[in-house]
Symmetry: C2
Subunit: 171 residues, 2 copies
């Protein structure tokens, strides 16, 4: 079974992201807009209790914090994914570290942590050029509070379901 | 903003439901398979704290319990929706009552509570006949434990996002 850990931003930010994702993101129907903290990893249902404990621990050690979303960028040349950049925050790193340390499950894809909200992916070169052209001058400049993280699992059809939410700083 | 309260069943049951929903449920891409406890209701973000408190209270007053899913049925003649029937359980009624009592928000649609997992809707009469024909002899006979409920909100594009999970019987 595949699991993952994400932040779902506010409805406002999700609606902004979806206005692009609807047209340009091939994963649009599999998961609402999100910031990935730990990308998909394979684990058995028997391991779930341990995983839940670890995510709860990670969440309780971090207080609610503000994120700043500034502009649209592309991961080119690595790939054609376009995203809303989430500025670095120590709390994001703490969450990432707590879920990638010794004894945690290895994720399917290993990148350096670069917090973001994907709005377009698997574009052709022409589409990428076109979408980036539209977005270059997009000034998002959005700030909001993050006070929870979500543990998800993936269904057979690829759609992600929330297993549990964890409030930051909770006992 | 629209909110709702549901139970997401196990991955196994969700996968079974989705094998039908993918073809026959027009709401397939808006929400994973679920048992509705309180259908969509309108509330402001300012009311969210009160709503969260109420759902938490409802969840904490009910201990984890078993549900039995037995067979596929149709809501005909009321409508053409086909669903997996969830057998009555006192805990389901307790959750329903706690979220529909005095002082709670009025839902957009009022039906008598009949717990179910929708697998097909908005079918033509011919489709309905055809799908029911396939499903009449489907013996699901599935039992599983419910230990949490989920408070959701709806994005502009119609997709539902989980705001928070609440464990049954939790302090």
């Amino acid at each position: 079974m595949k699991y993952g850990v994400v932040i779902f931003p506010s409805k406002k930010l999700q609606d902004i992201a979806n206005s692009y994702r609807k047209r340009y993101d091939t994963k649009y129907s599999f998961i609402p807009p999100h910031i990935t903290i730990k990308s998909s990893f394979e684990a058995t249902e028997e391991e779930l209790t341990t995983i839940v404990g670890r995510v709860r621990q990670a969440a309780s050690n971090v207080q609610p914090f503000l994120i700043n979303v500034t502009k649209a960028k592309s991961f080119q040349p690595a790939n054609n994914t376009i995203y809303l950049k989430v500025e670095a925050a120590p709390e994001l790193d703490m969450l990432y570290q707590a879920l990638h340390g010794e004894g945690t499950h290895k994720t399917d894809v290993e990148y350096a942590f670069s917090p973001h909200i994907t709005i377009a992916q698997e574009l052709s070169n022409d589409e990428h050029l076109d979408v980036m052209g539209q977005l270059t001058n997009l000034n998002v400049d959005h700030q909001e509070k993050v006070d929870r993280i979500h543990l998800l699992y993936q269904l057979e059809d690829g759609v992600w379901t929330v297993y549990e939410t964890f409030r930051l700083g909770a006992e």
